[in-house]
C-alpha cells in the first residue's frame, strides 16, 4: 500500500487540468456551506450572548392588561429578595407633527431603570430619564424623516404633546418581531397617562422586566413566579427561552440557505464524478501499463483515491476559507432586517464541518467512476483497438448502495431533520432524473433528427451525441443551477404579488382601530373630506375579551400547560386577547365547514369559531366557550366552524357572536377604507388630527415593510443559488474540456475539408445553445414544480405563472452555455491543422 501515495503524487503531474476542475467543484460547494454555516453560528452566538438584552431582563412578564393582584404581589416579593424590577408599556399609536402629518409609531413608555441589560444608544448621549423629563420624547430617526421634524420640534401623541429631545440609534430589546408597524417613540412612563391612549379596550402591552440577584436562578424563579400567577394571559419567560419565534425563524432561514448550499455541493459532486470519469478514461493506457508491470487493481484504486481525496481536501480547505471570507457579505445582505448587530467570526467547528462535507462528497462522488479502474484490461497495451473501459463495466451495483446512502446521510446531516432532508433528497433525485432523461432525449433526438441543411447546424447537432456523455452532465449540472435560481425568483415573485397592495383591489388601505361608538358619524365625515365623497368606511364592532373557559373548564396556566405543553402556537389560542364581533350574516369570504349559521330569531348566545382555533381548543359544534369581557363572563354555544382566508387582508375574526349576545359590553369599532394611494397621507393626517385616539394602520406601508424583509431574504437565497450556478458552469467547462481533443481533431478535419473557422465556430455555438436550452427548459420546468410545491404546501399562497421569469431562465441558460462553451474551447479554433493531424 505504500506504493499508492507515492504513485499518486507522481501520477498527478500530467493531469493538472483535471485537478483544477475537481478542486473548483468542491471548493465552491464547501464555500457555500461554510458561508451559511458561519452565518448560522454567528446568529446563534449573538442570540445567546444578547439573550438578556433582547429579553430586557433575566425575566420578562408580558400581558395585555396591567399586572395587578397576585402578579403584583409576587413581584413585590421578588423585589424584597433583591430583584430589580422595571415596568414598560408599549402601544401602537399615531404621532402627529406640527404641520399635521401623521405617522403610525410604536410608542414605548419605560419606568426609571430601563434598560436593565444592554445599552440604549442615544444621541445626544444623555441618560434616557433626563431626555424624557418635562414632556420629552426620544425617537428613531425614521420618525423625524417621515414627519418632517427636527430635534427640538414638537410631536403629538393622543392628547399630549412632546418635544423631541434625542434620537435612539439602538434599542437592546426591540427584536421581538422582524417587521415593525412603525418607528419607535420613547416617552416617560408617567407621560403615557396624559396621552389618553390608555383606556378600556385600547391595546397596550404591559411588560415587566426583572433583573435577578445572582443567587436566584432565572429558570427556577420563572417556575415559581408562574405557579403564583394564575392568569395564563400573563406570559412569564426567562431570558434563555424568550423570542422563540425569532429563534425559529433564523434557524429555519439558516437551514434553507444551508440546503441551497448543499445543492451547490451536490452539483459539485456531479462535477467530481464527471471529471474523475474523464480522468480514468484518459489514464487508461497508463493504468494498463501499470497493470502489466504488476500493479493490482486495489493498489491502483488506492492510488487514484489518494490523489482525488488529497485534491478534495485541499479544495475543501480553500473553499472553507472562501466561505469564511464570504460570511461578512451574507451578514451585510441580511443586516437590514436582523434586529441586532451581527459580528462575523470564524468558528473552527463550522470550518471543520465544511471541510468534512467536502471530503466526504469528493469520496462518495469519485468512488463510482474510480471503480472503473478495475475494468481497464492490461491487454489494452497489446491491442489499441479495444475500448479502454468497457462501456458497461462490471462495477458492482452493491457499491452503488453505500455510495447513495452516504450522499443521503450527508443531505440529512446538513438538513438537520429527517423530513426536510427527505424532501431535499426527493427533490434532488427528481431533478437529477428529469434532467438526465431530458439530456438523453436531446441526444436521442440529435440522432434521429433529419439532417439539417446548413453545415454548422448539422455538425453542431451531430456533436451532441459525441461519445463520452458530456451532454448529459452539462444539462444536469447547469439545469440544477437554473432550477434553483428560477425557483427563488418565482417564489419571491409570488410572495411579492401576495403583498402587493395594488393587486389586492378588495384590500383596504387603512385599518382604523379604536373608533369610539360616538365618533362613527364624524369619522365617516372626516374620511370623506380627506379621501373623496365616494369613500365610506366599513365599521365593524369590536369587543375585547379573553378566553375564560372551554366547555366549562376554566382556562388556567395549568390547563394550558397540560393541553399544549411548550407549544407556543397552541398556547396562543388560550391566552391571546380576542377581538370579538357579532354579525347577523356570515362574514364575506368565510366558508362554514361545520354546523349552521344562526337565523334572525333571537336565542341564547351562539358563536361561530375559526376552524384551527376550534381544533386547538378541542371544541366542536355544540361545545361551549366562555369569554371574560372586562370581568364579565359571557358563555356561548358553538354553532358553527368557519374557514377564514387570512391572506385576504380584510377584517377577519376568530370568533363571531350572534347579534345581541354582546349587548352592554364596551364596544369600539374598527373601520376599514380603501383610498387612492395619493390620498393616503391626507387621510392619515386628517384622521389623526380629528381623532387622536384612533390608530390608523396604513396597509400599504406595512406590506412594504414586509416586502423589504422578503426582498433581503430573497437576495440572500439568490446569492447562495448563484453558487450552484457557478458550480454548474465549472462542471460544464470541465465536461467540454474532457472532449477538447476530440473537438480539436474534428474541427481540424472539418477545416482541412474546407470549412471556414466561422462554420466551425457556429457548429460549436449550435451545440452549446442546444445544451443550454435543454438545461434552461428542464431547469425552469423543475423550478415551476418546486415553486408550486412550496407555495401550495408550505406557504399556502396562490401560484401565478410568471412567463418572464421562465423565459429569462431559458434565455440566460442558453447565453451562459454559449459563453462558457466558447471560453472553454475558443482556443481550439486557432490551432493549426497540420500539427494536430500529425499528432494523431
Amino acid at each position: 500500500m505504500t506504493a499508492a501515495p507515492r504513485l499518486a503524487w507522481r501520477q498527478a503531474r500530467g493531469a493538472w487540468r483535471h485537478f483544477v476542475l475537481l478542486a473548483a467543484c468542491v471548493a465552491l460547494g464547501v464555500a457555500a456551506l461554510v458561508a451559511v454555516g458561519s452565518f448560522a453560528t454567528t446568529l446563534d452566538r449573538t442570540l445567546a450572548r444578547e439573550a438578556k438584552a433582547l429579553t430586557g431582563g433575566d425575566l420578562e412578564l408580558r400581558a395585555a392588561r396591567p399586572l395587578d393582584g397576585d402578579s403584583a404581589a409576587a413581584l413585590a416579593d421578588l423585589r424584597a429578595r433583591g430583584a430589580v424590577i422595571v415596568g414598560v408599556r408599549e402601544l401602537v399609536a399615531m404621532a402627529r407633527g406640527a404641520d399635521g402629518r401623521a405617522l403610525l409609531v410604536e410608542a414605548k413608555a419605560p419606568d426609571a431603570g430601563y434598560p436593565l441589560y444592554g445599552r440604549l444608544q442615544l444621541a445626544p448621549a444623555e441618560p434616557l430619564p433626563a431626555l424624557l423629563a418635562n414632556d420629552g420624547a426620544v425617537v428613531q430617526r425614521e420618525t423625524l424623516e417621515r414627519l418632517g421634524l427636527r430635534p427640538g420640534d414638537r410631536l403629538a401623541l393622543g392628547r399630549a404633546t412632546f418635544t423631541v429631545r434625542g434620537i435612539v440609534e439602538r434599542e437592546p430589546d426591540r427584536a421581538a418581531s422582524l417587521v415593525t408597524l412603525g418607528p419607535r417613540v420613547f416617552i416617560a412612563g408617567d407621560a403615557l397617562e396624559r396621552t389618553g391612549l390608555v383606556q378600556i379596550g385600547s391595546r397596550v402591552r404591559y411588560r415587566v422586566l426583572v433583573r435577578l440577584p445572582e443567587r436566584l436562578a432565572a429558570r427556577d424563579t420563572r417556575e415559581a413566579l408562574a405557579r403564583r400567577i394564575a392568569d395564563p394571559g400573563i406570559r412569564v419567560a426567562s431570558y434563555d427561552e424568550a423570542q422563540p419565534g425569532l429563534r425559529r425563524f433564523f434557524s429555519q432561514l439558516a437551514t434553507y440557505l444551508g440546503l441551497v448550499g448543499l445543492a451547490s455541493l451536490l452539483v459539485g459532486g456531479i462535477g467530481v464524478a464527471s471529471s474523475v470519469a474523464t480522468f480514468v478514461r484518459r489514464q487508461a493506457p497508463t493504468i494498463a501499463i501499470l497493470k502489466a508491470l504488476g500493479a493490482d487493481s486495489r493498489t491502483l484504486l488506492a492510488t487514484f483515491l489518494w490523489q482525488t481525496l488529497t485534491v478534495g481536501a485541499v479544495a475543501s480547505v480553500v473553499g472553507a476559507g472562501l466561505g469564511a471570507a464570504l460570511q461578512p457579505v451574507l451578514i451585510r445582505l441580511l443586516a437590514g432586517f436582523v434586529p441586532f448587530a451581527l459580528e462575523a467570526r470564524v468558528e473552527p467547528l463550522t470550518l471543520a464541518r465544511g471541510v468534512l462535507m467536502g471530503v466526504l462528497t469528493t469520496l462518495l462522488c469519485a468512488m463510482w467512476p474510480l471503480l472503473a479502474v478495475r475494468d481497464v484490461r492490461p491487454s489494452l497495451i497489446l491491442r489499441r483497438d479495444v475500448d479502454a473501459v468497457p462501456a458497461r463495466g462490471r462495477r458492482p451495483w452493491a457499491a452503488a448502495l453505500p455510495i447513495a446512502m452516504g450522499l443521503a446521510a450527508l443531505a440529512l446531516w446538513q438538513a438537520g431533520s429527517l423530513k426536510l432532508g427527505g424532501i431535499f433528497l426527493g427533490a434532488a433525485l427528481a431533478a437529477l432524473v428529469t434532467l438526465w432523461a431530458l439530456a438523453r432525449g436531446l441526444v436521442g433526438a440529435a440522432r434521429r433528427l433529419p439532417r439539417a441543411p446548413w453545415p454548422a447546424w448539422r455538425h453542431g447537432i451531430g456533436s451532441l451525441r459525441r461519445p463520452g456523455g458530456q451532454s448529459a452532465r452539462v444539462v444536469v449540472a447547469l439545469g440544477a443551477g437554473v432550477m434553483l435560481l428560477v425557483a427563488v425568483a418565482l417564489l419571491h415573485e409570488a410572495l411579492d404579488a401576495q403583498i402587493d397592495h395594488e393587486r389586492h383591489r378588495e384590500a383596504p388601505s387603512f385599518f382604523f382601530v379604536d373608533v369610539q361608538p360616538d365618533q362613527r358619524e364624524a369619522f365617516a365625515r372626516v374620511l370623506a373630506q380627506a379621501a373623496g365623497d365616494d369613500v365610506t368606511p366599513t365599521l365593524t364592532p369590536i369587543v375585547r375579551a379573553r378566553l375564560a373557559a372551554v366547555n366549562g373548564v376554566r382556562v388556567t396556566r395549568d390547563l394550558v400547560r397540560r393541553r399544549v405543553g411548550e407549544d407556543r402556537e397552541g398556547a396562543f389560542y388560550y391566552t391571546r386577547e380576542y377581538a370579538l364581533t357579532w354579525s347577523a350574516a356570515p362574514p364575506p369570504g368565510n366558508v362554514l365547514t361545520r354546523g349552521r349559521w344562526w337565523g334572525p330569531e333571537p336565542g341564547p348566545p351562539r358563536i361561530s369559531v375559526e376552524e384551527a382555533m376550534a381544533k386547538q381548543l378541542g371544541v366542536d359544534v355544540g361545545g361551549h366557550l366562555t369569554f371574560d369581557v372586562q370581568g364579565v363572563p359571557v358563555e356561548a354555544e358553538v354553532a358553527s366552524l368557519r374557514k377564514v382566508d387570512w391572506q385576504s387582508l380584510g377584517t377577519n375574526f376568530f370568533v363571531v357572536f350572534s347579534p345581541g349576545a354582546l349587548d352592554g359590553a364596551p364596544v369600539t369599532f374598527v373601520a376599514t377604507a380603501r383610498t387612492t394611494a395619493a390620498a393616503e397621507g391626507a387621510v392619515q393626517s386628517a384622521v389623526a388630527a380629528a381623532f387622536p385616539n384612533v390608530t390608523a394602520i396604513p396597509v400599504r406601508d406595512v406590506l412594504e415593510r414586509v416586502g423589504a424583509v422578503l426582498g433581503d431574504i430573497a437576495v440572500a437565497i439568490r446569492v447562495m443559488a448563484l453558487f450552484t450556478v457557478a458550480t454548474g458552469v465549472v462542471v460544464m467547462a470541465g465536461a467540454l474540456t474532457a472532449t477538447r481533443y476530440q473537438r480539436l481533431y474534428e474541427s481540424v478535419v472539418l477545416r482541412t475539408l474546407g470549412a471556414t473557422r466561422g462554420v466551425v465556430a457556429r457548429a460549436f455555438a449550435v451545440e452549446y445553445a442546444c445544451l443550454g436550452a435543454a438545461a434552461g427548459v428542464g431547469g425552469t420546468a423543475l423550478a415551476c414544480l418546486l415553486a408550486w410545491i412550496v407555495l401550495r404546501f408550505v406557504l399556502d399562497t396562490p401560484w401565478h405563472l410568471e412567463p418572464w421569469a421562465l423565459l429569462a431562465g431559458v434565455v440566460a441558460s442558453v447565453g451562459l452555455a454559449i459563453a462558457v462553451g466558447f471560453l472553454a474551447t475558443w482556443r481550439l479554433l486557432g490551432e493549426k491543422p497540420l500539427p494536430v493531424l500529425r499528432r494523431e
Binding site: 505504500t2 507522481r10 503531474r13 502489466a292 508491470l293 504488476g294 500493479a295 493498489t299 492490461p378 491487454s379
Partner: protein, 232 residues
C-alpha cells in the same frame, strides 16, 4: 539441469472482429526451459505478440493452459495475476510503454514501489546506469530518443530481477545500430543473470542470437529450429 520455466499447452484464442470470430491463436503448445533464450518469429498478424501477452496473463485464452514457474497463469485471479507479473516477469514492448508523466528514474522505480522495495530511487539510478543512462534519470520519456526509451523500459523490466523476461519486438521501432545495443543488453542479461528470454521478433539479427526459434503462421506453430553453432 533443464527445468521447464514456461509450459504452454493447446492454447487457443478467438476474438470477435467485425461481427465474426477471428482465431488469433490455434492450439499452440510450447515449452521454454529455464535459462533458455527462445525467439518466436513470424509475419505480422501471426499471433506472436498475443502469445506473449497471454503468457504474462494480460488476457484470458479461449482454451488451453499456461504454466509459468509452477503457477498456472490461466487460472489466476486478477490480483494474483498482478502479483505474478510483478514477481515473476519483466516485459519489454515494441512501443516502450513508458508512463509519460513520470521521469525515466520514476518509471524504473514503479515496479520497486509496487513491490515495496526500500530505497527505490537509488536502485532505479543504479539500474539506469546499468543500461548506460546514468545522467538521464530526470528526463521525461518525451525528452528521450527511441533507443533511450527502450533502455529505460529494459531497466524497468529488470528492476526486480525476474526469472523471465518477455520482449515484444524490442528492436522493432529502432534503427539497426540502436537495436543492436538493446540486443546486446538482453543477451547479457541472459548470459550473466541466467534470465530466461522469451522474445517475439521478425528481426533476423535478433532471432539468430536465440537458442531456439519457433515460427508462428496464422496462429499455429509452423516450425522450430535450434541454433546449430551452439550445440557443443
Amino acid at each position: 539441469m533443464t527445468r521447464m520455466l514456461v509450459s504452454i499447452r493447446n492454447l487457443t484464442l478467438r476474438l470477435p472482429s467485425g461481427g465474426r470470430m477471428l482465431t488469433v491463436l490455434d492450439d499452440v503448445s510450447l515449452d521454454v526451459l529455464a535459462g533458455e533464450a527462445l525467439a518466436v518469429a513470424g509475419p505480422s498478424g501471426s499471433g506472436k505478440s498475443t502469445l506473449l501477452g497471454l503468457v504474462a496473463g494480460l488476457d484470458t485464452p479461449t482454451s488451453g493452459t499456461i504454466v509459468v514457474a509452477g503457477a498456472e497463469v490461466t487460472r489466476l485471479g486478477e490480483t494474483a495475476l498482478a502479483r505474478f507479473r510483478r514477481d515473476t516477469l519483466g516485459y519489454v514492448f515494441q512501443s516502450y510503454h513508458l508512463i509519460p508523466t513520470l521521469t525515466a528514474a520514476e518509471n524504473v522505480a514503479v515496479p520497486l514501489d509496487l513491490a515495496g522495495v526500500s530505497g527505490a530511487p537509488a536502485r532505479a539510478r543504479e539500474l539506469l546506469a546499468g543500461v548506460g543512462l546514468a545522467d538521464r534519470g530526470h528526463h521525461y520519456p518525451a525528452q528521450l530518443s527511441g533507443g533511450e526509451q527502450q533502455r529505460v523500459a529494459l531497466a524497468r523490466a529488470m528492476a526486480l530481477d525476474p526469472p523471465l523476461l518477455l520482449a515484444d519486438e524490442p528492436t522493432g521501432n529502432l534503427d539497426s545500430a540502436t537495436g543492436g545495443a538493446i540486443v546486446e543488453l538482453l543477451f547479457a542479461l541472459n548470459r550473466d543473470h541466467g534470465t530466461t528470454l522469451l522474445l517475439v521478433t521478425h528481426d533476423d539479427l535478433l532471432a539468430e542470437r536465440a537458442d531456439r526459434v519457433v515460427s508462428l503462421r496464422d496462429g499455429r506453430v509452423a516450425g522450430e529450429r535450434r541454433r546449430a553453432t551452439l550445440v557443443p
